[in-house]
């Protein structure tokens, strides 16, 4: 009995330690416009085109491709608000500051929720996109997006 309890205790300590040590990401010094391009979130079911707004230093993102563009009834996919998901702008109002794109929001067309969002560039072909409930990014979820190119 004591052996199992010790094993569980050790595993808890190991996981907790991993939680605080495994979060390191190698980052370079990106340029503001390097974020412009076509990106695929980790689920692999959509492409997001990130672009710069005309006449402003603001970046936004638009859903330009869906692996399954239609819902189960065969109609074009819509978000809970009723808007079409394809060509929807789901990243808004990012500015480039301190090597990251910040002050923006991300809209999740599945849940219909909009979250605070910060984007970091892990390397030229990978983004770490973090959506959060709070403006400080304390409670949120990060996703790795990969850059897409023409075959």
């Amino acid at each position: 009995m004591m052996k199992i309890q010790k094993l569980i205790l050790l595993a808890t300590i190991a996981i907790t330690t991993a939680a605080f040590t495994s979060d390191a990401t190698l980052k370079g010094k990106p340029e503001a416009n390097e974020i412009i391009g076509l990106w695929m979130p980790s689920e692999g079911t959509s492409y997001i085109k990130i672009f710069k707004e005309k006449g402003k230093d603001k970046y936004h993102g638009k859903v330009v491709w869906l692996k399954e563009p239609n819902d189960e009834e065969g109609n074009p996919k819509k978000c809970p608000k009723g808007d079409l998901v394809l060509n929807m702008i789901n990243l808004r109002n990012f500015i480039f500051e301190d090597d990251e794109w910040t002050d923006g929001t991300i809209y999740d067309p599945k849940s219909g929720n909009t979250y605070y969002c910060t984007i970091e560039m892990a390397n030229k072909n990978k983004l770490e996109v973090r959506g959060s409930l709070d403006p400080f990014g304390l409670v949120g979820r990060s996703d790795t997006w990969v850059r897409m190119k023409t075959n």
């Binding site: 569980i8 808890t12 991993a18 006449g55 330009v64 929001t105 990978k126």
Partner: protein, 358 residues
């Protein structure tokens, strides 16, 4: 009333609100509309991983403050010492505060780790405090009530876009202790669970596993079945971790959910006999508490992240017996406990304010 005021104040002053987004049109600096997006490849390998959530599921509780109240019932307990008198007591009510926290320490697409804390106190009000002193169990419940505090670590590891693993580890300190007369950590009880599963689509995730649990009142190893499901209409769904809990979910609208189902609550609680205050020959008595809560709950969004939960139901007693030490007891084991009790079944109510991840 005081607790209700506190709950409402928390609801009003918690500053987090999801972002309200207006959608003005945005003009691109360079518009390239002629790209064939069906002919694209990844510049670098990025493995696809399934997420732990499905469409329409009940919001995940990150923190809650609640209050639990059981109506009047009775407790009939055998004597602890041979030749002692059997005791039957009327309990006016059993009530107490409940708190919980769950923080996503790591929340990446390839790994999620949540650390949680939970606390619950149950106070027992006996109809006659004088008579309650005739039995050590009644005396302990009347004087100290029961308290539980615990930590959990829950890891969700997606293996690919379809398959995942969940591992949960827990440590709980349960007993009749107070903060001024704290219980030794040597009485910590450890739980664990592991589930392997499949995310079938955005509306269904399920899995099988095994758990080391005290939910039945004593240590047991139980197979578990996990499923979250939302119907195609998105108007209803099922949320379960069998046999511990089951909920039929009715999505009334974005701000209101109705849940109907059950939850098993249980653990083993140390009854402290330091200094032989109860005049017994031993100091390792543990109360084997397990109960089935059949209930309906209404979940209402006060704001996008603050939800009110109101629950009412029937508390069915499975075990409220006492025995010595910590031991394994599988379902179907009918070995009599040292002290067996009959606890009748009251209605119960629970209200909580929850900070949720919508």
């Amino acid at each position: 009333m005081y607790l209700l005021r506190v709950l409402l104040l928390i609801a009003v002053f918690i500053p987090f609100t999801l972002v309200a987004q207006d959608d003005p049109p945005i003009e691109e600096e360079e518009d390239e509309t002629s790209i064939d997006y069906s002919n694209m490849v990844q510049t670098t390998k990025n493995k696809a991983f399934c997420s732990s959530r499905i469409l329409g599921q009940a919001p995940i509780k990150l923190a809650f403050v609640g209050y639990d109240f059981q109506t009047g019932h009775s407790l009939e307990a055998q004597p602890f010492i041979a030749g002692g008198a059997q005791s039957e007591q009327s309990i006016t009510n059993a009530h107490g505060a409940r708190l919980g926290l769950s923080y996503p320490v790591i929340s990446k697409n390839y790994f999620l780790l949540n650390l949680g804390f939970n606390y619950a106190k149950t106070r027992y009000s006996f109809h006659s405090a004088q008579n309650a002193s005739s039995n050590p169990l009644n005396q302990s419940l009347a004087n100290n009530g029961l308290r539980t505090m615990g930590l959990t670590a829950t890891a969700f590891k997606p293996l690919n876009s379809k398959h995942y693993l969940i591992v949960q580890l827990g440590a709980n300190l349960n007993g009749d202790y107070s903060f001024t007369n704290f219980q030794s950590f040597s009485y910590t009880r450890y739980t664990a669970a592991a589930i392997y599963g499949i995310k079938a689509n955005d509306r269904k995730i399920w899995g099988f596993g095994i758990s080391r649990t005290y939910l039945g009142g004593a240590l047991n190893y139980v197979p578990v079945y996990y499923m979250l499901y939302t119907a195609k209409s998105k108007k209803w769904g099922l949320e379960m971790l069998l046999p511990a809990r089951f909920n039929y979910r009715r999505n009334i609208n974005e701000k209101n959910l109705l849940l109907v189902g059950w939850e098993v609550e249980g653990n083993t609680f140390r009854i402290n006999n330091d200094g032989n205050v109860y005049g017994l020959l031993y100091n390792n008595i543990e109360l084997r508490r397990a109960e089935l809560r059949l209930r309906a709950s209404w979940e209402h969004a006060l704001t996008s992240q603050i939800w009110l939960s109101m629950q009412a139901g029937y508390r069915y007693n499975w075990s409220f017996d006492a025995d010595r030490g910590d031991f394994y007891r599988p379902f179907g084991d009918d070995t009599p406990y040292l002290v067996e009790t009959t606890l009748t079944n009251p209605a119960y109510f629970n209200i909580s304010i929850n900070w949720v991840s919508p």
